[in-house]
């Protein structure tokens, strides 16, 4: 018997003119790990909410068809009754952890089910051990990091040993390390608990490698339901925005795409196409000692030995010096706590350095992580001038009359960008500096590409703090790596992003950093031009323009 069965399910949110999901039929068996793919607004979240009973019981609206979870019909059983069979994890860890301590949080769903105290205590211990959060049990939830909170929320979803676990972009609000840890944890839980897992995720390269199946959605309909390799073959043909970089690389070489770095390397190795280089040697070969950029022209932004020391606390920035030329596109990378966001705040004047100086030739516009925070008016046209709106692609007069909160996620971000850019020298913004803090968090690939294109079109200097190497490879001309509050590396994307693991793109990881290839198309050029030889790979690297 299937754990989840949807039969011709169509659902329309209250007040919506079109259904969010339409005619969806699928079955998910016990222990299956299914990845749900699709762009923003494709119906992934709605499908998950139909599976846990929030649709229609919590949201209202019009529901047709039949959804059964472990034999329970969701029309007859609400999310409360289904909670014993289905565990759900949402995007934002802050709003799904409701209790004061981790122990109480794990106990809540079991107590709601009226479990006996011994069963509650045992389930808490088991969930805590399985998730590696036993040491957090008595910690206040208010003190936990985002990754820890998300683990606790997952523990609460798992504590009742559900047969089905639904995860709606669980890593979108986490940094990459916490996100990777969570995905690895899910993989282990799927094996240990034998629960079926359905995970909606944008960064498919993270989880496709160990999925049993991938389901793609578009416009509320299921457009592909296949094993990962079959899904990738379909995506490379019909939906390139859903194909992983590794899939595109193999497809570009005329090979059948496979999921995961290891499988892709094996495929290339079997055909003697894998560049015969040591990844670390390749990375080092592509690197050269580089001094911080110093240009003859006046920099658009200059940080001169900037320190930020917290009173009775640590130093977040430790003498950072950085010059950004007009029109230069710089990515600021580094692990959490490295000082990226603090540096951007200093650049924009939100913070004052305790030592050192910040100078800029024009306006420094800062776009923080949540674009909704910028929106305070009733109409899009009131938020920014027509010139600024046109620059970010929101010049359509019909859009000007819409409520800013009704825009899509990508449109909201562009509107927020128009707000901070307003009056900074339209239409070219030549002297402006645009700073963005983690702009791709929770974005699908289509939106990331749109943003990269928009940033490339601006004449302004651009400084983006991000953890996303794939995005960096598409827009940046320079990467500055921060560590412990200092710039520890400064170079081209190929120099910084190839040859490593954490800061590397999937293409670079598959090719071991050969030739400094960062995106699939560069990888195809290098591999097809010079298979099997380190020397020829190096010569290909010399000819390949690897800067984005």
């Amino acid at each position: 018997m299937s754990v989840l069965s949807l039969r011709e399910v169509t659902y329309t949110y209250p007040g919506a003119s079109a259904p969010a999901i339409a005619d969806v039929t699928l079955e998910i068996g016990p222990g299956e790990l299914v990845v749900l793919a699709g762009g923003s607004g494709s119906g992934k979240s709605t499908l998950l909410r139909a599976a846990n009973g929030l649709v229609p019981h919590f949201h209202g609206g019009v529901f047709a068809g039949r959804a059964t979870v472990a034999g329970m019909d969701t029309r007859d059983h609400g999310p409360g009754a289904l909670a014993a069979r289905v565990g759900t994890l949402f995007q934002d860890p802050e709003t799904q952890v409701v209790m004061g301590t981790v122990r109480a949080e794990l106990a809540l769903p079991l107590e709601n089910q009226g479990e006996a105290p011994a069963a509650v205590a045992r389930a808490i211990e088991e969930a805590a051990l399985a998730l590696g959060i036993a040491h957090l049990l008595d910690r206040p939830t208010a003190e936990l990091s985002g990754g820890e909170l998300q683990r606790v929320a997952l523990g609460a979803a798992l504590a009742g040993r559900p047969q089905l676990i639904l995860l709606d972009e669980p890593t979108s609000q986490l940094d990459p390390v916490a996100g990777d840890e969570l995905i690895a944890l899910l993989r282990r839980l799927n094996e240990d608990f034998d629960a079926a897992i359905v995970i909606a995720e944008h960064r498919l390269e993270r989880c496709l490698g160990f999925a049993d199946r991938a389901i793609a959605m578009r416009g509320g309909r299921v457009v592909c339901d296949a094993a990962p390799a079959g899904f990738l073959a379909w995506a490379c043909e019909a939906a390139p925005e859903l194909a992983t970089p590794g899939g595109r690389l193999l497809s570009g070489l005329g090979l059948a795409p496979v999921a995961g770095v290891k499988a892709a390397r094996s495929t290339l190795r079997a055909r003697d196409l894998l560049p015969d280089t040591d990844p670390f040697v390749a990375g080092a070969a592509g690197r050269r000692e580089r001094k911080p950029h110093r240009r003859a022209e006046e920099p658009a932004l200059e940080l001169d030995r900037v320190w930020h020391e917290i009173d009775r606390g640590p130093a977040i920035l430790r003498g950072v010096s950085l010059q950004i030329a007009p029109g230069e596109r710089v990515a600021l990378m580094g692990r959490n706590g490295a000082g990226k966001s603090t540096l951007l705040r200093h650049a924009a004047g939100l913070m004052r350095p305790t030592r050192g100086k910040v100078r800029s030739s024009g306006r420094v516009a800062l776009l923080l992580q949540n674009p909704t925070d910028y929106l305070v008016h009733e109409r899009v046209g009131q938020e920014a001038s027509p010139g600024a709106l046109a620059t970010v692609g929101l010049g359509d007069p019909e859009l000007a009359d819409r409520h800013p909160r009704d825009l899509s996620g990508g449109e909201k971000q562009r509107l927020a960008l128009a707000i901070v850019l307003d009056g900074a020298g339209e239409p070219t913004y030549k002297n402006a500096v645009v700073c963005l803090d983690e702009p791709t968090r929770g974005m699908d690939r289509g939106r990331k590409d749109e943003l990269a294109a928009l940033l490339r079109e601006l004449d302004a200097a651009v400084l983006v703090a991000t953890h996303d190497p794939e995005f960096v490879a598409t827009f940046a001309g320079r990467v500055v790596l921060l560590g412990e509050g200092t710039a520890i590396a400064d170079g081209t994307p190929a120099e910084i992003l190839a040859g490593g693991t954490y800061f590397a793109t999937e293409t670079a990881r598959i090719l071991g950093g050969a030739g400094g290839a960062l995106v699939a198309e560069q990888g195809v050029a290098i591999v097809s031009g010079s298979p099997g030889s380190a020397g020829s790979v190096a010569s290909a690297a010399a000819t390949a323009e690897v800067r984005a």
Binding site: F58, Q113, P117, N370, V420
Partner: protein, 290 residues
Amino acid sequence: MSYRRRASPLHAARAGVGCAYCAALALATLLLSAPVALGAVVVSIAGAAVGARVLREMRRAALLALPLGLLVMAVNMLVAQGGLTVIARLGNLPVFGQTDITLEATVYGAVLGLRAIALVLCGALYTAAVDPDEVLVLFRRFSFHSALTATLATRMVPVLARDARRLAEAQRCRPGPPPSRARLMRATTSGVLDRALDVAAALEVRGYGAARRPARGWRMRRPWSRHDLAFGAAAVAIVGLAVVARVANLLPFQSDPSLHAPVGAGGAAVAAAILICALLPFADRRGIER
């Protein structure tokens, strides 16, 4: 200010006992009005804060309570016209009329202010040292949904504070004049409602909507620790001492027409006993870490 588990005897005691201990101190504050007794209670609370390692949180609460105490005292000085010892004649003031400040009204106002401060500090001690989740478990038998709402409100305070800081930062990034307060309020409210919707959905999928009243004996029986016994006994003793002192009038206090607050041997013994009872449980520091 929020609860954080620390290695202290009060934190190691069960929530019911912690509640009782704080309530006993509050009750003593309400039952006794002699300055020496109130002083003993305030010193007890301060000592408990040190023993529970929540002095910093309590200092913050005291800074908020002090103006309240002074306000109570000032209002009483102006409003209460009893007492024979006039220390200042303010003449005919608007609203208050003919106003004389008397020593007795001033002292009584100070006592009321001290009582207000002591009550605030009792509440602060409870907030900092008693686990709210355990309290929720205690009260869920009576009204689970109300208790959970209270816990949730406490949990959401830091989240919303972070939201507010984020919003303020975003507004500072906007060029030109800042938006009006009304617009900001509307934007903030929208954000809070979004948060509320997310939290409600999370509660639903945790089974909140189908939550059942737990059966009797729902809680796992936890053996009484030395700290449970010590603080429980302290709470009973403090309430007992306060009641005895009140009934036997061991600590009389009168402020009208003249001040009368003699401290006899019995009264001094009661004040000292309250202090000792409140602080003695902190002496035993075995098994305080979890």
